[in-house]
């Protein structure tokens, strides 16, 4: 229990740090490339952008913009962490009471609110693990990994462990060992 709580906290911290890092990086990139990039978009917008057409820009500038991270943060409004937290708590309660289908419904609802939250995908994989839906576990954990910061070793490793267990259950011993190796490398 304690361990799980700690892990949750750690994951949360890592995500926070990752987001802060991404934000800082984008601000830096913005400041750094202002000359090349001419990104005159507002960094922080309270209101959604209006429909006013953008002044035309010559092609070379735009091509560069296509390959740099966009300047606007993901959410112009408060990040809905509390709504997601409510659903995550609910899913936890439901899992503990063995209501696994209900838990997955709660997690799916949370994913509609925060579709690129790797922790939610990881939780969903865990619920499916208990339900022994191994094919799905492998996919959900891979999806979680694709959204996880490369520095969040703990979450990456947990996902690889889920993949390893599911592959083993599916009879893919080689794949399982490979996944275990990757999980271990991240610890």
């Amino acid at each position: 229990m304690q361990g799980e709580e700690t892990m949750k906290d750690t994951i949360g911290l890592w995500r926070l740090a990752w987001r802060a890092g991404v934000f800082a990086a984008s601000v830096l990139v913005l400041a750094g490339c202002a000359g090349v990039n001419r990104t005159d978009r507002p960094a922080q917008v309270e209101e959604r952008a209006t429909s006013a057409p953008r002044p035309s820009v010559d092609d070379s500038d735009v091509r560069i913009a296509a390959y740099t991270p966009p300047a606007r943060p993901r959410y112009a409004r408060p990040v809905p962490t509390r709504a997601v937290a409510v659903l995550m708590r609910k899913a936890d309660d439901q899992s503990q009471q063995g209501e696994l289908d209900a838990a997955s419904i709660s997690l799916e609802r949370a994913l509609r609110i925060a579709p690129d939250d790797p922790v939610l995908w990881h939780r969903l994989a865990e619920v499916r693990m208990v339900q022994q839906r191994h094919d799905l576990v492998v996919q959900l954990a891979a999806k979680s990994n694709a959204l996880t910061s490369p520095r969040d070793h703990r979450l990456l490793s947990s996902n690889w462990q889920l993949i390893a267990r599911s592959r083993r259950a599916l009879g893919d011993a080689t794949g399982a060992r490979e996944a275990e190796r990757r999980a271990a490398a991240l610890r």
Partner: protein
């Protein structure tokens, strides 16, 4: 009965046996019990001694025969004039009748037998109809519920529209469920109770602060407690009604508002709770009123009789049916309670017609005319529904509002006259407008294309009969807000294009599919520019060549081999001349019919260069590309011909949406779904369609491709989007155009949604439009209307950015014309730009910081 005209068979001379028997046969075929008893008497009559009696029996036969035969044959009542001669003949017969005791007893006995046995038969009919399943209850289709939380991407505008979809009333001060008020961006909303697929939720009163940017804060109305998450119940958007087109929303007796019952009593049957199914006083009164008025102004039918008429009998009008009706009404009243009868009546009554769909019962009537549940209707609204009982098409409030208003006020006046309403209440109700919703806004929001998709998906798991009769509740993924915007975007843009290009109006057609990018939930389906019309569903059934929409799959297949291909790998845009197995030669062209020499791989995709793509595709191989298409979600047969590389593959818009969903979700395909859950009529979950994903492509390669697809929209063939979309709204996408400009496609995605637009003609003639001039503006209009979130692609593990100069060599940020491209680690070019060996210019860095 003396003046009932005879049937042909009865016209035979009195006493002649053939006619006699013909009559028996007729009677027997309808009424076995009575016919058996009659046959016995008939045989007795043939012995000659009782000739007179036989004539009487014959009279009874003829009448009974007529009664039965007319029921079967639906014979219209002949005009009285024509029957004159026959009537005289009958009078003669009657005069010759005897009046002996025996005869009288015989007649009475016969009558008792006839009526008695017939009643038994009727009672059985009534029982079967009433105690079996009374109605086929169509499956109800719900949109998605709306999640609300601080930070939700729901603008004040959208919130208002959602409340309108749900039929909530805007009021000055909220006092109960389904009401809302607004002051300076602060909404007070009292939600309804609702049973969701994951449990029931009681209604609550909340205060929501929302602006154009979305929801800022939600608090409970009293106490001001902060609410982290809530939802508005889903709107009812349609139903799957059976082949006989009767649609209804079942209501129980307890759901019927008192004022509805009052209005029914006042207008249709004031002694309903007193009479025994037939109201002789009512008939007398109606007769008196009608006689005085000189025309039929009042009916004497009780509610029970009306119910019997609609529920149990065919719609023909004849005296025999009237008698059946009265008999059955007596039976129904004896067997069932007044409440049961009222409930059945409330669900059976016909209240309107929309195309081929018949609106039955007050439950659906309330949605159909007012877009809200029956229990929320007010007096003036129920009065209108009750007024419609008399003639739903004659008083159709949408077509004949004046007539309907007059009728409603008459109902209100009757209610007042009979003491159901005080003068003030009646006055207040009369001062209200009709309040009927426009056809398009009402129940259903007219989403036939989406309902069609839901129906197809359900058919895999359910029998058609269960869908149309078991009262299932189907919770779908439809986003009514997105759907409304999609419908408007397609219709208005096609009209604009036709006008701007002087095309014949209404010749262009189109389709739109919108899905959630990350989980594949279909949010909107538009099957044509007249979206309210349930015709050819182009979103599902217009299977057309996809042209350049196929290219991302080719480039993805290449990028998944990072040691061979990166975004900056040079590709040759040179002429292609292939000899096909059938001996023909294939010489494709670029759209501009030019050759572009060696270009970067990313540029070949951004500019949609055909020849570079064919060269690349042939190098990569058709088989791996086909495998990739399959992984991305194409289920059709794919022929391994080189022309495939230029999109010689026909797909429907929804199939294309699946492919682009896999890309939008970073390479993780989620099968497109239109349904979340199915509940049975007792709210038990029958089925759920859970979220699944499967890895269709390497996420790192997909990231590279998606970056390239952003370039398409910013500097490539879809650069027109920069004019059409608000600044800073980054999206990724691809145009598609087919031979002779027959099909114009655009498929693309933002952070939250993937959408596919198709524009073409139903006769498959040339539209004169490329992907960029037809489907692209439709797509752009849609994305702008639904206010999507800009893409913010975060590189997955294993992706690195490197600065590359114009010659494709490793460079640095300060180098002239250098661009940072993402690479799968280790695949970046090793050749170094000369610029790297120059001393790092401090000036350059400073320029970068302060320019």
């Amino acid at each position: 009965m003396s003046d009932t005209p005879a049937l042909p068979s009865v016209r035979a001379p009195v006493g002649s046996l053939p006619g006699f028997q013909g009559c028996i046969v007729r009677v027997r075929s309808v009424l076995p019990v009575a016919s058996r008893c009659l046959r016995r008497l008939g045989v007795a009559a043939s012995d000659g001694k009782q000739a007179r009696r036989s004539r009487v029996v014959f009279r009874i036969f003829t009448d009974a025969g007529f009664l039965m035969a007319s029921k079967k044959k639906q014979r219209p009542r002949p005009k009285a004039k024509r029957g004159g001669a026959r009537r005289r003949t009958k009078r003669k017969v009657r005069r010759s009748d005897g009046r002996g005791w025996r005869l009288l007893i015989g007649m009475l006995l016969l009558c008792v037998l006839l009526v008695g046995s017939y009643s038994i038969y009727l009672a059985k009919t009534v029982r079967v109809k009433f105690e079996g399943k009374r109605w086929a209850v169509p499956a109800q289709i719900f949109a998605r519920p709306l999640d609300l939380y601080a930070g939700a991407d729901v603008s004040a505008d959208q919130l208002r529209t959602e409340l309108e979809f749900l039929g909530y009333r805007q009021v000055g001060a909220v006092s109960g469920p389904a009401q809302w008020s607004e002051r300076d961006g602060r909404f007070t909303i009292h939600t309804r109770d609702f049973v969701f697929w994951d449990g029931s939720e009681p209604g609550q009163a909340v205060q929501i602060t929302a602006s154009a940017a979305g929801v800022r804060r939600i608090r409970s109305q009293n106490g001001g407690r902060e609410i982290d998450l809530m939802r508005l119940e889903p709107a009812l958007v349609g139903s799957i009604y059976p082949a006989h087109k009767e649609d209804r929303v079942l209501v129980r007796r307890a759901d019927l508002p008192d004022h509805l019952v009052d209005a029914l009593l006042a207008v249709e049957d004031r002694r309903f709770f007193e009479h025994a199914g037939v109201d002789l006083r009512g008939i007398g009164r109606a007769l008196w009123v009608n006689l005085r008025a000189g025309k039929a102004v009042q009916g004497g039918s009780t509610l029970t009789q009306q119910l019997v008429k609609n529920f149990l009998l065919s719609p023909e009008r004849s005296l025999s049916r009237k008698i059946n009706e009265a008999l059955m009404a007596l039976i129904v009243d004896a067997r069932y309670s007044k409440d049961e009868i009222l409930e059945a009546y409330a669900n059976e009554i016909f209240l309107g017609q929309e195309g081929e769909r018949a609106i039955h019962g007050f439950g659906l009537g309330a949605y159909f005319y007012f877009n809200r549940p029956l229990r929320e209707l007010r007096v003036h609204e129920t009065a209108l529904l009750v007024g419609l009982v008399k003639g739903a098409s004659y008083y159709n409030p949408r077509r004949h509002p004046k007539r309907a208003l007059k009728r409603r006020d008459l109902v209100l006046a009757q209610m007042q006259a009979q003491g159901f309403l005080s003068t003030d209440e009646a006055e207040a109700a009369r001062s209200q407008a009709l309040g009927v919703t426009a056809r398009g806004a009402a129940h259903g929001h007219r989403v036939p294309a989406f309902v069609d998709l839901v129906r197809r998906q359900l058919r895999r798991d359910y029998r058609e009969q269960d869908l149309t009769s078991e009262g299932l509740r189907i919770f779908t993924t439809l986003d009514p807000w997105v759907q409304r915007q999609a419908v408007a975007a397609l219709a208005s843009r096609l009209t604009r294009i036709e006008r701007a290009r002087a095309l014949e109006p209404k010749t262009l057609q189109g389709a739109l599919v919108v899905a959630s990018a990350q989980n594949g939930e279909i949010q909107a389906v538009v099957g044509g520019r007249d979206a309210g019309y349930a015709g050819f569903n182009r979103a599902l059934d217009a299977v057309r060549p996809i042209g350049s929409l196929i290219k991302p799959a080719i480039y993805l297949t290449a990028l998944e081999q990072p040691q061979r291909y990166t975004l900056s790998t040079p590709v040759e845009d040179r002429a292609v001349d292939l000899k096909l197995p059938n001996g023909q030669r294939w010489r494709p062209n670029n759209y501009d019919r030019k050759l572009h020499g060696v270009v970067g791989l990313h540029e070949a995709l951004a500019r949609s260069l055909n020849l570079a793509t064919v060269n690349l595709g042939l190098e990569v191989g058709l088989r791996p590309i086909i495998r990739k298409l399959r992984a991305l979600g194409v289920e059709r047969d794919i022929q391994p011909f080189p022309a495939l590389l230029l999109g010689a593959l026909s797909l429907s818009p929804v199939e294309v949406a699946q492919v682009y969903q896999s890309l939008a979700a970073g390479g993780f395909r989620s099968p497109l779904r239109a349904i979340r859950a199915v509940l049975d009529s007792s709210q038990q979950q029958l089925q759920r369609y859970p979220l699944t994903v499967s890895e269709a492509a390497d996420p790192a390669a997909v990231f590279l491709l998606n970056r390239n697809l952003v370039e398409v929209t910013e500097a490539g063939t879809a650069a027109a989007l920069r004019r059409l979309l608000p600044g800073g709204l980054q999206v990724a996408g691809k145009t598609g155009t087919t031979n002779n400009l027959r099909d114009s496609w655009f498929a693309g995605f933002s952070a939250d949604r993937v959408a596919v637009a198709w524009v073409g003609r139903d006769d498959n003639a040339s539209t004169g439009l490329t992907g960029a001039s037809g489907a692209l503006p439709v797509w752009a209009d849609l994305m702008q209307r639904i206010d999507v979130l800009p893409l913010q692609l975060t590189p997955p593990g294993g992706v690195e950015y490197h600065w590359i100069d114009s010659a494709g060599r490793l460079a640095a940020e300060q180098c002239e014309g250098a661009v940072a491209f993402p690479y799968i680690a280790g695949s970046q070019p090793s050749e170094r730009s000369a610029c790297l060996d120059e001393p790092a210019g401090l000036g350059g860095i400073l320029r970068g910081l302060f320019d």
